[in-house]
């Protein structure tokens, strides 16, 4: 049978085909739960007297609200504390496994699934969080859902879903020096727009994608939602299998062999037909940054802030005017001239060990710009442990950065990690919406390498701007005694 990767995974999970316009009923292999979008879903179950159908396919973590300082003390914010306590109570009552603050497996839900080996090729993965698309990097069909759907999955382990269309995003060529997977996805979103992926599952493929590590692939799939797509996928390959092997929940022995044999069938066939196709040449890319208030408002770092009068489309022109005003920028101003107050390194987009390593390699032996605060927030407690085992924490502290506990943190500012009104950040996260990182805060989305260079110079900068003459660092371990530790 020929088909796209997304269609193969879809077809393998159809419990019941919809007729007369009704959606298919799809089985869900893995349901990830966090404190913000679940309380009303558990309450719904309780009111209806329904159990969680498959607690053994469900996993809860605390991430959105959790503080990144003083995690051993009671959470100061009463409403945050209530929400966390509600999740703990619900997990206990319904028999759901939970990794709470202070537990070594606590962290952002989209890091915890992969690091435990629960996220595997060919699965259907859902979570009440739009960045669930992250798990598509393994060749899983993974997408965010609302609270009513969370309740639906808890009660039935299925979801009624109307079919998606498929879009191939082919990235040929090789990334130039200093450009990363973050720059690929920012360029894709700038090209197709924040609505360009609506109704589609995106499949990323091509030479530049194949060359990426698992973590870099996760960054790309993570931001599929910012192009309006609910899911992004990458066909599994040796890189995927290598990442999974030996993780706590990866199959073992004969099961591993059976799984790999199946996983190797998970790719779009040569004659598969996509509903849409976009082609990019990675060689044309350079570090990308956003200038506006949606992730589609991005440009290469060498460009200038757009001049609204030069934008033909009336809606886009108005949106650009509004964004430039909110961001406190001047039309035509070089992006490189923008001074920032805060650099945030973290989130489910770019808070993994490879991201922290590449930042550490850039900032090692240097000092941050005087008037910039730098927050480094690992995506999970295990990532924090790993970074400390490799000595990265000392590099960050010597640099003048703050080294925090794991969580979503300043990506969305539900905990105390927020921008003040008018404050400007360079952020490795995923959304630059108005007020996303704190009321009145101004966000520029960047890659970890741009974040590191910006923290040093104080203005939006690329690695090349540092003039080291050395190649841009990658996410491989720093050389040294701790470098051979198992990565998380």
């Amino acid at each position: 049978m020929s088909g796209t990767l997304a269609e193969k995974v879809w077809d393998a999970h159809v419990v019941r085909r919809g007729t007369d316009g009704a959606p298919d009923l799809l089985y869900i292999d893995l349901h990830l739960v966090h404190e913000v979008t679940s309380p009303q879903a558990f309450e719904g179950l309780r009111l209806a007297g329904r159990p969680v159908r498959r607690p053994d396919l469900t996993l809860a973590t605390e991430d959105h609200n959790t503080p990144t300082l003083d995690i051993d003390r009671p959470i100061a914010d009463a409403t945050s504390r209530t929400q966390i306590e509600t999740l703990r109570t619900n997990a206990a009552e319904f028999g759901v496994r939970i990794h709470s603050l202070g537990d070594a497996d606590q962290g952002i839900v989209h890091q915890v699934g992969p690091q435990l080996g629960l996220t595997q090729p060919g699965l259907t993965v859902v979570c009440g969080d739009s960045h669930t698309s992250t798990h598509g990097a393994f060749g899983a069909l993974a997408f965010g859902i609302g609270t009513s759907e969370v309740e639906h999955v808890l009660a039935t382990q299925t979801l009624p879903l109307a079919p998606f269309k498929t879009m191939a995003i082919t990235v040929d060529g090789r990334l130039p020096e200093g450009a990363t997977s973050k720059d690929i996805i920012l360029a894709v979103i700038a090209k197709i727009g924040t609505g360009g992926g609506q109704g589609y599952v995106l499949e990323y493929r091509g030479e530049a994608i194949r060359a990426l590590s698992m973590e870099a692939r996760m960054t790309i799939c993570n931001m599929s939602i910012e192009a309006g797509a609910r899911a992004g996928m990458i066909a599994p390959d040796e890189t995927t299998f290598e990442y999974l092997k030996g993780r706590p929940h990866a199959p073992e022995g004969a099961d591993w062999d059976a799984a790999v044999e199946y996983w190797r069938t998970l790719h779009s066939d040569d004659d598969a037909v996509f509903d849409a196709e976009v082609v990019l040449d990675a060689a044309d890319l350079e570090p990308f940054v956003t200038w506006g208030t949606n992730p589609g408002q991005g440009l290469p770092l060498s460009a200038d802030v757009p001049v609204p009068e030069q934008i033909a489309d009336a809606n886009e022109r108005v949106a650009a005017e509004r964004a430039i005003e909110y961001m406190g920028l001047t039309p035509g101003q070089p992006l490189r001239s923008i001074k920032v107050d805060t650099v945030f390194i973290g989130s489910c987009t770019n808070g993994r060990i490879e991201d922290l390593r590449s930042v550490a390699k850039v900032v090692q032996g240097r000092k941050k710009a005087d008037d910039v605060r730098v927050l480094v927030v690992p995506s999970s407690a295990r990532v924090r442990l790993q970074a400390e085992a490799e000595g990265l924490d000392k590099i960050f502290l010597d640099f003048g950065a703050e080294w925090r506990n794991a969580g979503c943190s300043m990506c969305l500012g539900m905990n105390p990690d927020q921008l003040a009104p008018g404050e400007r950040s360079a952020s490795t996260s995923n959304r630059n919406f108005e007020g996303r990182q704190g009321k009145g805060g101004r966000t520029h989305l960047v890659s970890p390498l741009v974040a590191a260079a910006t923290a040093i110079r104080g203005t939006l900068s690329s690695y090349a701007d540092l003039g080291t003459g050395r190649p841009a660092p990658d996410g491989s371990p720093l050389t040294g005694p701790a470098a051979d530790l198992q990565t998380v």
């Binding site: 919809g18 739009s130 706590p248 059976a258 949106a319 605060r373 703050e402 009321k439």
Partner: protein, 220 residues
């Protein structure tokens, strides 16, 4: 869920594209554990501006929101739908909706009516020229009527049926519980399960403490 066939109410023109769910309800309001009481959080950042459309008397009691394209992008928070409903909105009209927002709306009985942008421009003009004009949205006929303008809207057949019948999704699915059980029988045994839990050895996580660092240039 209440049955929905037709609704008439004051139309509110929201001339903005890409209204993301962080604008509909900022994250600080997501900490509640209830499903109601979010009306104060709707468009919280914009409500501080006296010029904002919902702060004008003629639109204050609006129940049909007519917005620019790409409404409801971003976060999956269903709180966005709850906030719109709690404020009193029954219908949102836009040329394009984000997928998750559209799905959440359907589950909660908020109609996401997709109307061509040129038709929205016509409706905007009427609502802005004569503030307080009522809009009638007919789910049976799939039309939006504003004054003498009658335009069609799109909503998928299944969502339309469920809204008109006021049906609960979970109840519908549980009618097929035998098929779900049969599927579970066929599932490969090597597919992962979260229980029994497996993980690397537990390790104590040290708490980070506040440190004295130079704070960024915070505007006075």
């Amino acid at each position: 869920m209440e049955k929905f066939t037709q609704h008439t109410g004051v139309g509110v023109p929201l001339r903005r594209s890409n209204v993301d769910t962080d604008q509909i309800i900022p994250a600080v309001y997501l900490k509640r554990v209830t499903r109601t009481g979010f009306e104060d959080a709707l468009f919280a950042a914009w409500r501080g501006d006296p010029e904002f459309v919902l702060n004008q008397d003629a639109y204050r009691s609006g129940s049909v929101l007519v917005a620019g394209p790409d409404f409801g992008t971003g976060s999956s928070r269903e709180h966005a739908v709850w906030a719109l409903k709690d404020y009193g909105f029954k219908v949102v009209v836009s040329a394009r909706f984000a997928d998750i927002f559209r799905g959440n709306s359907g589950k909660q009985g908020l109609l996401a009516a997709q109307v061509a942008q040129e038709d929205i421009e016509l409706i905007w003009k009427i609502l802005e020229t004569r503030p307080g004009t009522e809009v009638t949205v007919d789910l049976v006929a799939r039309t939006v009527q504003c004054d003498d303008v009658v335009v069609p809207f799109h909503v998928d057949d299944y969502t339309r049926w469920r809204l008109m019948e006021g049906l609960d999704d979970i109840g519908l699915t549980l009618q097929h519980v035998d098929e779900i059980s049969a599927f579970e029988e066929r599932r490969e045994s090597w597919r992962p399960a979260t229980l029994p839990a497996k993980h690397l050895p537990p390790v104590e996580i040290k708490a980070a403490r506040p440190v004295e660092v130079a704070i960024g240039r915070r505007p006075a």
